[in-house]
Symmetry: C2
Subunit: 182 residues, 2 copies
């Protein structure tokens, strides 16, 4: 079985339990691999596993952005496309965000930079869509932040309330809110 096969499992573990909450036993159980096998695929241990998951996440985000930008239509349509993909990635709000999980605990110091770059990339992508539709740069950047904030916050609320409906409402309303004033 290839290394990449286990990445989705690792993603689910780290986003649910955070870096400090994920133990090698849990990983071993979830993947069905013994510790020796895990260290065969990830010689760098836990850190390399997170690293791998982050790379996959970067690619996933890049794909979502590419889908949205290549989408024929106005800004609203593009943002709706992005919303669809995001909704899918978070399983309709049932799954928390890895970026939030990695901003806590011992992980923060180690992965801060990567998380930062990912968030900035995401914000920039939303801003780009709005700028291309004619919005002023500064406002578009703020809207980009607002978009990521709404999604992250909605995920927190969905987790905390154990109820995905706030996330679904946000995902649905967000595109038109971001386009406000265009």
């Amino acid at each position: 079985m290839a290394k990449q096969t286990h990445v989705p499992l690792l993603l689910d573990l780290f986003r649910q339990f955070g870096y400090d909450g994920v133990t090698l036993s849990k990983i071993s159980e979830a993947t069905g691999l013994g510790k020796a096998s895990l260290y065969h695929y990830f010689p760098g241990g836990k850190d390399e596993m997170v690293e791998t998951v982050l790379v996959a996440l970067e690619q996933g985000l890049e794909q979502i952005i590419s889908d949205a930008l290549s989408c024929k239509g106005d800004a609203l349509t593009r943002l709706q496309t992005m919303g669809d993909r995001i909704n899918q990635a978070y399983n309709g709000g049932h799954k928390p965000c890895l970026l939030a999980a990695l901003s806590l605990g011992s992980a923060k110091a180690v992965f801060q930079e990567r998380v930062q770059r990912l968030l900035q990339r995401w914000i920039k992508a939303i801003a780009t869509i709005l700028i291309e539709a004619g919005m002023a740069e500064e406002l578009a950047h703020q809207r980009g932040e607002d978009g990521v904030i709404a999604i992250q916050g909605a995920l927190i609320l969905a987790q905390g309330l154990n109820n995905p409906s706030p996330f679904q409402r946000v995902i649905q309303q967000l595109p038109s809110q971001l386009c406000q004033g265009l």
Copy 2:
């Protein structure tokens, strides 16, 4: 030294590192108490420490709500008052949220109910302010959710970007956004 003396320290630890990331050694170092002494104040161990912090947080939130509701003025003024207190509680966006931290890892199963009640109380308080100002109930409840979502999301972003400015902007803009349509 009384038990309550250590609660702010514990709050800071748990919100920064999460339940799984906080070790008794860290707590011992932060409080200056030996591990054995910690069990004098908190016989229930780590869980009782979180419990105590959560009780303090409930009281803090209740105080903020009471301040906002007892504030003479329109809904905007009341929400601004709440924003001020919230801003203070999160140290201008420099400190993350305990509720988000406790929604991850092994803590989730244990403290889910308490976190849920706290979030619902917060949402309800915002909604109440808006309803008293004449907003329709359903919309007001949505706005309550939106308010908490914006704050939680902004805190995540502030942590992830290592930059509190998005949080400060959100806190500043939020009251008028929530009053939109009144």
